[in-house]
Amino acid sequence: MPLLQMIGIEKSFPGVRALTGVNLTLAAGEVLALVGENGAGKSTLMKVLGGAVEPDAGGIRINGDEVRIESPLGARRLGIAMIYQEFNLVPALSARENIFLGQETTRGGFIAHDEERRRATELLARIGLDFDPEIPCRRLSVAQQQGVEIAKALSLNARILVLDEPSAALTTREVERLFAIIRQLQTHGLGIIYIGHRLEEIFEIADRVMVMRDGANVGERAIANFTRAQLIEMMVGRELKDEFPKRTATIGEPRLVVKGLRRGSAVRDVSFMVHRGEIVALAGLVGAGRTEVARLLFGADARDAGEIKLDGRSLELRSPRDAIAAGIGLLTEDRKQQGLVLAHSVRENFGLPNLDRLSRGGFLRLANEREEFARYTSAMRIKISDGEQRARNLSGGNQQKVVIAKWLARNCEVLIFDEPTRGVDVGAKYEIYVLMNELAAQGKAILTISSDLPEVLGVADRILVMHEGRVTGELANARAATQEQIMELAVA
């Protein structure tokens, strides 16, 4: 009898079918790797298991018994522990206090410190860690914090442990330690679901692999029956329909030239150029340093070293304001947090970077703003009731169009699109691609960042692949490139 069975799980969000009847089984003492592209539905599936998302249909069984998981607390009671990339620890509290948070050991209403300390030390020792549990969590290393999370799961007698990209922030040696812990937990009979992108790690730790794509499981077998190439093909293997507009590029002289760009460990010695009329894609996995590069080019973060030139002129870029003045525009990855003031009207959002043109002597020329916004609204087919509608109430695609409109009105020479079609429906995606083509045709330099491989292949003229802060490869002819080539470089 399997430890966990998820049967026919379905979940739809407005406009998206996130899960379309997914099945998952997990045996006690097994490590199941869950792989797939970003957006394939892995996280949603795990949120269903963790009680954070309620499925539209489907059932869950633990040890053969049908269970209903209605809340994260309910999941915890059933012995399901989730460890996310961002830890759920209170930084100011000690490891001990974090482990027993919400289930403190008390004697006569007072916390039994000695008892807790003994048990915390014991739990940490079980996973091979021996640091003082009284140290506040903010002073622990990432690996130690992860250990605290796992110890907490053990203290709750977890039977099923979900690790969401646990190795993302760890050094190679720390990853080895983590794997040792996982193997030990395996021998204790826990079932472990491991979500990861790094294929070599999956081949090392997993017993079985389940591949998800577009909200469905597309393949599932023992790791021994997979070759690396097969796994990659299964992850990305969707046939390209007519998702992208035809593109005939006229590429001119270099416009944006980047040399030796550095920032901490996020961006290490990145150099590239974007030519007139060219669309260059930065590919790679989440956390590879692509967004960080974009932020440096936009002056949103300060660079440690490196040179940025536009049309031969060296740019200082102390703030986004400098970058905008130099003719650079950035469409951020996170529209809601960084691209829009959600509580304000779409017209005001549109006007924000353009107020130098739309004002005279400090006073706004509201009529001009309205008129210009109306022009972009109809040209880009932005669906809004009127310009006073709050940005919050728009669909993802329309929000993205408003963001694009505000930069188009700015007439930037370099446009950086960070995940331009995330959360955007298929029809709007196509329109955004057309816009990108038109901008390139006007002689602008376009840099696009995307985790969607077909999009990278369908839109770009040239592809740069990043991994751990470096450019690990370049595919000079995007037309001839394959998803497998990108994946190889991205997990290198």
């Binding site: 936009f298 986004p320 905008i324 006007g351």
Partner: protein, 440 residues
């Protein structure tokens, strides 16, 4: 909010609806006409009034009006009942008849007039007349309404700056202390450099401007610390609040500074424009200017954007630090101006001024519908908020509610206003549920 204000006004009007008496010149005009109408141009009248300015004006005007209409005023009594008795005695002794005795609401009740026919039969049974009375709410009397606006002027002026700061996503707790600092600084400058009680207008103005500028500099300092070191505004302004308050006590050596000329009260107590107090004119001017700034200028749009989403604003090229610096500087300047108005109203500068004002100011802003989380709010909403607070205080004063109870009621009103706002935004749960965005 406007509705709430109107309802409050209606309520206080209803509960303070009472008998009103004309007084002074207006009363005299009305009464003179009435006497001539009743007794004809040849009427003989004795006027009885108390010995006080308003009654004196009444008596004098009435005498003039009656005399010019042809009536004869036998005597004008300004004093107490015994003066009236003496006058009546004199009239009786001189065998002259009286048609009417004109008094005020107060003098007509004098016992000396109670049994005229018996006490002074020779006077020919004169009729007691007084100005007509009417019914009108105490709350809605012109003086009371002006009083409300004048009393809220200082808080309302500070609230302009506070609204701007809160819309830009901050908070400024230092404004109450800056009132004291500016008031003390201005009065000290007047005393020590501008000539004290004999100071000329130029020196006065310069001293006040210097105090306001100083207050603005404190605001700029606050803004600089907040933007440069990214310290939460609550903490920074809390520190500045204590420093400014302590500074005011140090400057004034714990005393009030009252060596200022009489002309100093022009701003706080003068009323040069159709009888509207100068402080109220200043306040309204500031509100109009701030409204234009927030709704019609680039700076205003930037202030909203910075408060609405700092990162999105920065990534749209908004100079967020300069914008925040401006907000705190403006708040400091207006707090300084408020301090000058208060010093002018009270004709002195004391380090005790403005205590707790920051809380009333924030209350006015919040009651006026500005969101404490920034990015949303209207300048005129704050004016309404300030008036709501002023009207509640004034109304309760008129109803003789004691000050402790007033505090409790005011607190309840602030809570109610905020809860109402939450309800308007969609439900008691407050936070908007994240609309199922997929992140896989």
């Amino acid at each position: 909010m406007v509705l709430a204000l109107l309802l409050l006004c209606a309520f206080f009007s209803a509960v303070t609806y009472s008998e009103q008496h004309l007084s002074g010149v207006a009363a005299a005009d009305q009464l003179a006409t009435a006497i001539i109408k009743q007794f004809g141009p040849g009427a003989r009248v004795l006027i009885a009034a108390r010995d006080q300015p308003e009654d004196a004006a009444f008596a004098e005007r009435l005498r003039q009006r009656l005399t010019s209409a042809g009536a004869s005023v036998t005597e004008v009594v300004k004093g107490e009942p015994k003066d009236a008795r003496a006058a009546l005695q004199r009239a009786a002794d001189s065998q002259s008849k009286l048609d009417a005795i004109a008094g005020t609401e107060a003098t007509r009740g004098w016992l000396v007039f109670a049994e005229l026919a018996k006490d002074f039969p020779s006077l020919g049974n004169p009729v007691l007349v007084q100005p007509r009375s009417y019914r009108w709410p105490n709350f809605l009397k012109r003086e009371n309404l002006l009083n409300i606006t004048n009393q809220i002027a200082v808080i309302a002026i500070l609230a302009v700056g506070m609204t701007v700061v809160i819309i830009a996503g901050g908070i400024d707790l230092s404004v109450g202390s800056l009132i004291a600092l500016a008031a003390v600084a201005a009065c000290l400058l007047i005393r020590d450099f501008a000539g004290g009680a004999n100071a000329a207008a130029f020196g006065l103005t310069l001293s006040c401007l210097a105090a306001i500028a100083g207050s603005g500099a404190v605001g700029a300092f606050t803004g600089a610390v907040i933007t440069r070191f990214l310290v939460p505004p609550f903490v920074v302004t809390l520190g500045v609040m204590l420093m400014a308050s302590g500074g005011a006590y140090l400057l004034a050596q714990g005393q009030s500074v009252y060596q200022v000329p009489d002309s100093f009260i022009w701003l706080g107590r003068g009323a040069n424009l159709f009888g509207v107090p100068n402080a109220v004119v200043l306040m309204l001017t500031l509100y109009v200017a701030a409204h234009v700034m927030m709704s019609r200028t680039r700076l205003g749009r930037y202030l909203y954007a910075v408060g609405g989403n700092l990162e999105a604003a920065r990534l749209s090229g908004v100079p967020v630090k300069r914008v925040q610096l401006f907000a705190y500087t403006l708040s400091g300047l207006l707090a300084g101006l408020g301090g000058i108005v208060m010093a002018s109203q009270l004709k002195s500068g004391s380090p005790t001024y403005g205590q707790m004002y920051e809380l009333y100011v924030i209350a006015a802003v919040v009651v006026g519908g500005t969101s404490l989380s920034g990015g949303e709010g209207k300048i005129f909403g704050t004016l309404i908020g300030a008036f709501i607070i002023a009207v509640i205080q004034n109304g309760m004063n008129l109803m003789n509610v004691e000050s402790y109870t007033q505090k409790v009621v005011l607190g309840l009103v602030i809570l109610a206003a905020v809860l109402l706002d939450k309800l308007k935004q969609g439900g008691w749960r407050g936070g908007r549920a994240p609309n199922g965005t997929q992140s896989a």
